[in-house]
């Protein structure tokens, strides 16, 4: 394995300290940007050249997103980091917050410089309070050392970063719900347009990126966008953190180049538990359609490869299921999740997620009806694409994916009132 880029402090006993971050070249990129007075256009050009695409699930090109911020806007603008990591299977950002918080701070400071922003917020998933405390301490450390605050590193650049703790709402991972939440409201997504770049936090221009996205920035500035791009494959630049959970011997987060074969990642995670046969894999977080194991074994982990196979890379969260898994039971839990987490704003999602859950629940409990499978698909078509945010799609895609590849298992459940496995 080559030297890690984001997990570059993991060999220290206390990977999270400023002292250790500086030992591995920390804040060199910010220093360079300020010393050379790099032009925002030049920074954005590097980020575009890096091929960096949003690591929060949607994969939107980061450089392009940054270019949307109005450069000459007079007044407050905001930078927001989305660390509200609650997509089942995903837990990579937690390790950045816990183990390399200064890399995130440096990446955000460079982004803030590029878009002339003075204030940033880092919205952290409520359940990982220890990571929030770690971030609070790191920001304080950075302030004292002159990496945050006024006159950063003796320049006239000013930027401060604050942490905001969520408190248990998956939908706040949606960027406009997250903004509502920072404003002290229920986390209900906003209509778009207007997009956050024009009407964001407190109605001001705002850019929101994922934790891992920001953490990728220092390397890009230090080494040039092209070098980052070359680490990965065309259309999926750079390295990526993958969370591998479920039926593996050694679950964990792994930093590998984009385009790494799934087979390799599975080996890194110790293989399927107990030497069992691989049955199915969700390749990008629970919302992404499930794929059969034999298809996954031939796939590489990058945006295009996974999409060609009928799913999405999403957050890079890989949930592994072995031959003992009942697919009806697995889908039942996921459908309950979306039902529980629907914010209730749009009727198709609020009502539809309840329908999906109740139908899968009755199939799992031996009360399914022959017409249920078509009813589920019909419901999906009436939810996906008909709601303000993507939670509706996120509820429908797993149902469609499970039925596409494992319909027989569902039919068996309905007919025999018990499980096939």
């Amino acid at each position: 394995m080559s030297t890690p880029i984001i997990f570059n402090t993991l060999h220290f006993d206390q990977p999270w300290t400023l002292e250790n971050y500086l030992k591995v070249g920390g804040y060199k990129a910010l220093r360079k940007v300020l010393a050379e007075k790099m032009l925002p256009e030049a920074i954005i050009a590097e980020v575009k050249a890096s091929g960096l695409r949003g690591r929060g699930g949607a994969g939107f090109p980061t450089g392009l997103k940054w270019s949307f911020m109005p450069r000459n806007y007079q007044g407050d603008k905001y930078l927001v980091c989305n660390s509200d990591e609650g997509e089942p299977g995903t837990c990579k950002d937690r390790d950045i917050l816990r183990y390399n918080p200064h890399m995130l701070i440096e990446g955000m400071a460079i982004a803030a410089y590029t878009m002339s922003v003075k204030t940033g917020y880092n919205y952290i998933h409520g359940e990982i309070f220890e990571a929030y405390e770690r971030m609070e301490a790191a920001c304080e450390e950075a302030r004292k050392a002159g990496y945050l605050g006024q006159n950063i590193l003796g320049s006239d650049f000013e930027f401060d970063l604050h942490n905001h703790l969520g408190y248990g709402a998956y939908v706040c991972g949606e960027e406009t719900a997250l903004l509502e939440s920072i404003e002290g409201k229920k986390g209900q997504p906003r209509f778009k347009p207007p997009f956050p770049a024009t009407f964001g936090l407190y109605g001001k221009p705002t850019t929101i990126n994922n934790t891992e996205t920001f953490a990728s920035i220092p390397y890009i500035i230090n080494n040039g966008g092209q070098q980052f791009a070359d680490l990965g494959v065309p259309n999926s630049g750079g390295i990526k953190l993958f969370s591998v959970s479920g039926h593996v011997n050694n679950p964990g987060n792994f930093e590998v180049p984009m385009g790494t074969p799934f087979k390799t990642l599975l080996e890194m995670a110790g293989g399927v538990r107990g030497g069992n046969k691989l049955k199915a894999v969700i390749p990008g977080g629970s919302s992404m359609p499930v794929l059969p194991g034999e298809i996954m074994m031939d796939l590489n982990m990058d945006f295009d490869s996974i999409q060609k196979a009928g799913s999405y890379l999403g957050t890079g969260a890989i949930i592994v299921m072995d031959e003992t898994t009942c697919m009806v039971k697995a889908l039942e839990r996921l459908s309950y999740f979306y039902f529980e987490e629907s914010c209730g704003q749009c009727t198709p999602c609020r009502e539809g997620t309840g329908w999906l859950y109740r139908i899968v629940h009755r199939i799992e409990h031996g009360e399914g009806r022959p017409e249920d499978l078509d009813l589920l698909l019909d419901l999906c078509n009436n939810i996906a694409g008909r709601t303000i945010c993507a939670l509706g799609d996120a509820a429908a895609w797993p149902v469609q994916g499970f039925l596409k590849h494992y319909r027989k298992e569902f039919e068996y459940h309905i007919e025999h009132k018990r499980c096939l496995v």
Binding site: P88, T90, D93, F129, E130, S181, G184, Y202, I319, C343
Partner: protein, 165 residues
């Protein structure tokens, strides 16, 4: 009436936000009350509304929208167990059964001595450490086994922190 400590904590949070955006501190304010009292009563919401300067209804909306707020007493130590897919695949149903047997309570209940409460949670964003629970929304205990759970419960019963990770 909010305690001096809670007021001081809210003041510290308010500094994070623009002076005219005091409502941004409401989530933290509710958390401070819950940490001190164990749960949030309607009177607490009224106090927070008055202190921050926002409608009481808006505080109620926030308190009821986010799962981690407790609107009824849930024991001195509330254990919230994630039952989502990665945890389910990693045996959380056995974890939950062990907890229920050990504590003699079901989900949403508290032990007779008021020491422990059990809640079901949604994805905690730590799936590689499945199965897991949090203690009072503060400490995340992962890779749980029957033995590890017994040890944590014993530590908590003895007034300790529970779990050493």
């Amino acid at each position: 009436m909010l305690s001096d400590q809670i007021q001081a904590n809210i003041e510290r949070e308010l500094k994070k936000y623009p002076a005219d955006q005091r409502q941004s501190a409401v989530m933290a304010a509710l958390r401070f009350v819950q940490d001190e009292k164990g749960w949030i009563a309607p009177e607490d919401m009224a106090d927070i509304a008055a202190y921050i300067g926002m409608p009481q209804m808006a505080v109620f909306e926030v308190a009821t929208f986010y799962h981690m707020y407790k609107l009824k007493p849930m024991g001195e130590y509330t254990l919230t167990v994630c039952t989502n897919l990665s945890c389910q695949l990693s045996g959380v149903n056995e974890t939950l059964l062990h907890l229920k047997n050990k504590l003699g309570i079901g989900l949403g209940e508290i032990t007779a001595d008021g020491k422990f409460g059990l809640r079901e949670g949604e994805c905690m964003g730590a799936c590689v450490d499945a199965p897991m629970f949090t203690i009072n929304n503060k400490k995340l205990c992962g890779r749980l086994t029957g033995e590890k759970i017994d040890q944590i419960l014993a530590e908590l019963s003895a007034g300790g922190q529970g779990g050493k990770q």
